[in-house]
Structures are given as C-alpha cells and as structure tokens.
Amino acid sequence: MELVRSHVLICGGTGCTSSGSEVLHEEFDDMLVKYGLDKEVKVIKTGCFGLCALGPVVVVYPEGAFYSRVKKEDVEEIVQEHLLKGRIVKRLVYDETVEQNDIKSLNDVNFYKKQQRVALRNCGVINPENIEEYIAVDGYQALGKVLTEMTPEEVIDTVKKSGLRGRGGGGFPTGTKWDFARKSVNEQKYVCCNADEGDPGAFMDRSVLEGDPHSVLEAMAIAGYAIGANQGYIYIRAEYPIAVKRLQIAIDQAKEYGLLGKNIFDTGFDFDIELRLGAGAFVCGEETALMTSIEGHRGEPRPRPPFPAVKGLWEKPTILNNVETYANIPVIFNKGADWFASIGTEKSKGTKVFALGGKINNTGLVEIPMGTTLREIVEEIGGGVPNGKKFKAAQTGGPSGGCIPASLIDTPIDYDSLISIGSMMGSGGLIVMDEDNCMVDIAKFFLEFTVDESCGKCTPCRIGTKRLLEILDKITKGQGTLEDIDRLEALCYHIKNASLCGLGQTAPNPVLSTLRYFRDEYEAHVVEKRCPAGVCKALLSYVIDPEKCKGCSACSRKCPVGAISGEIKKPFVIDTTKCVKCGVCMETCKFGAVVKK
C-alpha cells in the first residue's frame, strides 16, 4: 500500500452530495495535481459524517480539521494553505471546533460529545466502495469467527445475550426472532433485509448503506449461518440510487474475495445476496407486504400467523431485519455481547440512530446510547431551536408515532418509555417542532400520508383513515364541533383495533398523541375558530397595526389581489373580504406592522 501524509475525507452522503460534494472531489484532485501533491495526499469519498446541516463536509487528517459548507472556490485555498503549507484555514473550519488558536478534537464538539457511534462506526471513516478499507477496520472478522468457531446455537445465544432489539420500529428481540426461524424445519430458508426506509424525514438506513454497506452483508451472512439459510435478499428503495450502487459494488467485491458465494472461509457454508428494488410503497415496510413485493406482486400485507419465521418469502421460513439492526451485529461478535449489553438501559440495549430534522440547528444524523434524554438530543447535540423560538414538541416514529411535548423533554429515549408516553421509537425519524407549528395541521399531514399509502386491502384502514382526515380537514377549516373531536378519538381506537397490519394499527397515533397533549389546540380551532400557531389559513386574518404602520405603501404594491389600500404616510388597511392570506404583505413590511391573528 502506498504511504501518504494526509487524507482528505469528503462526505459522499446524500445530504452532502446534494449540496455539491462531488464537484469538490474533482476540484481536490485537480488542485492536488496543480500543486504537485497528488502522490502525498489521498482524497477519499466517505459515508455520512452526520452533521448534514453544515454540508458539504470535508475533513483533513491527521489534523482532524473539520471544514464545513465548503465551496468549489475554497478548495484551492485548502490545498495551498493547509496541505502545502500546513496552516489550517480557520475561516472555513466549523466554528465550534476552533478554540482560541487551536483546533479541538471532533469528539469534544457538542454535536458529537454525547454520541456513541456503534451502528455508524465506519460512516465517514472508510471508503464504502473499497472492501479492503472495511477489512482494515475488522470487517468480516465476525463472520470468520462465527463460521469457524461457533455453532448456530451459540450465535443465536450471543445475539440474545446482547439484548439487541429490532431497530425498524417494533423493537422485537432479534435473537428470539432468529431462534424461531432456526427451529422451523425446512431445506430452504431466507434472510431478508428491510432497506425500504419509507418513514418521511428519516435517513438512518440510507446512511449506513451508503457509508458502510459491507457491515450489512456480513451480518446477513451471519444470520444465514444461524438460521440455516443460504440466500439473502435486500429490499431497497429505488429512491436511494447512491445506496443501491454502493451495495451492488459491495456485493460484487465480497463475492470476488470469497466472503459471499460458495464455501465461505472453506467451511462449506454458502451464502448469496440479491438486491431487489422497491417501487415507492410505504406499506412495503411491513414484513409480509415486503415479502409479497419481493415475490413480484402488489405489496399487500397478509394476516399473521403464520409468522414469516414459519412461512415467509415463497412460503419458506424467513427472517427480516432492518439495516440498522444488521449494522450492530458484527460489533456484537467482535466486542462481545456483554460489551453491547453494557450500553443503554435495562430493557433497551445499545444505541439508536436518529435522523434529527425540522426546527433544529444541527440537522443530521445522530447516534446516542439508549436512555439519553430528549433534552440532551435537542438542546446539546442538536444545538437547540433556531431563531430564538420555543421548543414545542418532537415527533418520533413518523406516521406511526406520536409527539412528545415540551413538558416531557426529560424523558429518557428507549423503546418502553416512548410507548408509555404515546409515541414509539419507530425507525428513527426525530422531527423537532417549534411554536409556529400547528399540531392539528401536523396530525393532518401524517393522515394525508397514510391515506395515500394505505394499500386498500382492509376496510378499517382504507376508509377509516380517510374519515379521520375529513374530520381533521373540517377542524382546520374552522367548521369542526366538539362532537367531531370525540368522534375523531373514538374512530382512532376502532381503526387501531380492527386493521390488518401495522400501517393501519398505528395510523391513528399522530392524532391520538396530539389529542392527548394538545387538546387545547384542537378546542381552539373548534370553539374559538382560531389557530393558535397561525398556520391554518382558513382561520387566519392579516391585519395592519396602525401604531407601527408608516404608510409606505410597500405592502399594497406587492399584494396580488389589491386588498390593501390607504393614503401615503397614513396607516394602511387590509380588506379581509378580498385577502387571500398569502402572507406577502407580512414578508414585505419592514416595520413589522402586518400581523397574523
């Protein structure tokens, strides 16, 4: 291997690629040639660093200088100053890492300090398109150990002992699931990976697949050995082209190295993995629907039992785990089940990755030990709510989850505590909302999603969610009654009890949890015909505060419907019968005289 004195790590995750990291890669290559450094400095495209809000991110080692929001024009300066002359370009470094005249280690920065990267251990560290880099960080060592030193029963015992629970949302103990499939007798079994991350606002699995695809392949082979399967399928969203490409490269490389395919490690164990592309149906995240889709049909769920461990893909015993669950498996074997079980809380072991988004300063990917409080995530790691606004609620679990209000911000995050407060872990989307978000509107947003995504097979979900949405729509338009709120609540329970699959059973959760913690907002819409957050258009009116208005006429010139009139230098007035509530006047006014009521 050639020796180089510096490494330039460029984030190739989706967030950074979208903000232009590919161009940076080319520019670094060109500039290194221009300054004659191309033999001394190596440029590597890595997976996600997590701090997407500051993308594109470039990290230069050995110094560990963390450059954020780098532009093409900045590259020459970094090459000339930092790589040629050894002077870190402070202007471009993430300002939290600059301490007086020194650069702090990334691990001391607030965003990373409380994190513990287990599932994401290799993201942003290795080049995901090179199997040798994965092997260099102990990759495929766990598979070697499992195949040469352990029996399938010992493998399952180790996973059970680690306390690992499914990271896709349900939280079912992984070892127990494997045990069921092991005990199903059949000459053909399957190992599936759910990479159909459909929860809007969540991108944990995509980052693992893009940043560390081999960890998933290795874990699937371990699972295959444990349950007695020799074929694996990864069901992945077609919307993730980068992840699809890197997985395919990883599979090809693993086959070339004999780490997948026939007679792995000379043990006589065969294991092969195929990719199957999803086609944009949220319900396919449900295990039976996913398998129906791999079989090539409309992805509709079917009743359980029989559970997939008994009758799954093509009616054979099948296990299905999600990407993040698999990403934890190799570490459990390398570092031991006891080590893994030492992280987290009594019933939730290990770490959880969250995609932090919404009204928060540090949007991005964070991995925290189970039991970290929501306050630590929002205020310390996330850097708080922007623009001095107040934290109102956090939404976890996407369309199946619920809201956690500000009063419960000290709740430790684990499977059971989230269920007890009416939310759920879900796959890891964590959306922060501030005082400007209307909770009825948020509930309506999620219901629009589930109505769209309900597969239509069972009536409670197909028709029930539609009715829920209609009632919510009525309320946001100011036409609701108190009886509507009661009817809404009752219908939620009917849908939960009567639906066939997880989609319908959890679809009412966003409504129930907002009703539980923000009932006053629902009542304000119904009784006072008022939207406290100022979101629901039908209930808003824009007025001009005559005290603040300078009579400059800027708003009246911008108004698209000519609803604002007045005399220059005297207060203007909005004709509410003409106003279409577009809000242009409010954006235009320099004096803050236009207010929403």
Binding site: T14, G15, S18, S19, L51, C52, A53, G55, G198, D199, P200, G201, A202, F203, R206, A238, E239, Y240, R276, L277, G278, A279, G280, A281, F282, S293, I294, E295, G296, H297, R298, G299, W314, A355, G357, G358, K359, T363, G364, Q395, G398, G429, I431, M433, N437, I442, F445, F446, C455
Partner: protein
C-alpha cells in the same frame, strides 16, 4: 390514474429490442415483474399500456397482474415526465420547514397540478416522499439537480433557469 396515457405512444424498434433483452434476462428469475418494470421504465421513461402488454406477453403473466402492480407503486408512471421534471419533497422535515408553500408557488407559477405535465411537455410536477436530504430542507429537485434551503422567493429564479 387512467388506463390510457394522454400522450400517444411512439416507442421505437430500438426500445422494443432493448425491452425484449430485459425480459429474456429475467425470464427465469422468481419475482421478475418488478425488476422488469423498473428497467422498462428506464427505457421508455414511463409505462404506457403498449409496454405493459409486451411485458405481460413476454413474462407469461396476465395484463391485469401487470397493470395491478404498475398502479400500486408510486415509482411507476403511466404518463411521461416533462422535459424538466420538478419534484418537491413533502417529507416531514421539509414540510415543517415550509415545502407546502413552495409547491403551491410552483403550481401557481406554472398553472400546473401536482402529478401533471404542462401541455407542451416541458414541465411536470410531483410531490415526493423524503429524499433523505433533510439537512437541506426544504428541498426540490429538477431532473437530477437538487435545490435546498429554499424559500418561496427562490422559486421564480429556479424556474427561470429552465425556460428554454
């Protein structure tokens, strides 16, 4: 969704040959229909009835089965996309940051419904699920170009870039 596309089908012999190759490649794979539809859509840009018929005959499944699958999944389209396919992310992170207003602004500016295509075939507009670029929310894409951290005021400038 209607059975028949609004735009007349004009597939070429070359496209048909490619599709036949794809069908031959997957003929013996279990669960081949969805991978074949993906590749067919790459070839034609969409999946009109004529293409569905060829696939049904090629794989030996009924047209009803093919049509059922095509209409079940949102990735498959019965209508062609515009020269400039605009997609606005309505994932939760983008939604709470105001992507709803952005899609409204585009609809107004182009006089175009979500899911539709302008009569000249120039623009099509779609609302997408999370594209995973939540750090840049709110986000829209035009073909493969990504625009992030948007406000409503950015919309006219972006559309102006695609006026040719």
């Amino acid at each position: 969704m209607s059975v028949k596309s609004s735009v007349p089908f004009n597939g070429t012999a070359e496209q048909e040959a490619k599709l036949k190759e794809v069908i031959a490649k997957y003929k013996d794979t279990r669960g081949a229909l969805i991978p074949v539809l993906h590749e067919a859509q790459d070839i034609y840009g969409y999946l009109p009835l004529e293409v569905q018929v060829m696939i049904a005959e090629g794989l030996g499944v009924t047209l009803a089965e093919v049509y059922g699958v095509v209409t079940f999944y949102t990735q498959f389209s019965l209508n062609p996309k515009g020269k400039y396919a605009i997609a606005v992310c309505l994932g939760t992170a983008c939604y709470v940051k105001g992507s709803g207003n952005i899609i409204n602004k585009i609809q107004e500016s182009l006089n175009l419904e979500v899911g539709g295509c302008t009569p000249d075939g120039k623009y099509s507009l779609n609302a997408t699920r999370c594209i995973g670029a939540c750090g840049l929310a709110p986000v829209l894409t035009v073909n493969d170009e990504v625009y992030g951290r948007l406000t409503v005021d950015d919309v006219p400038g972006i559309l102006a870039k695609y006026s040719d």
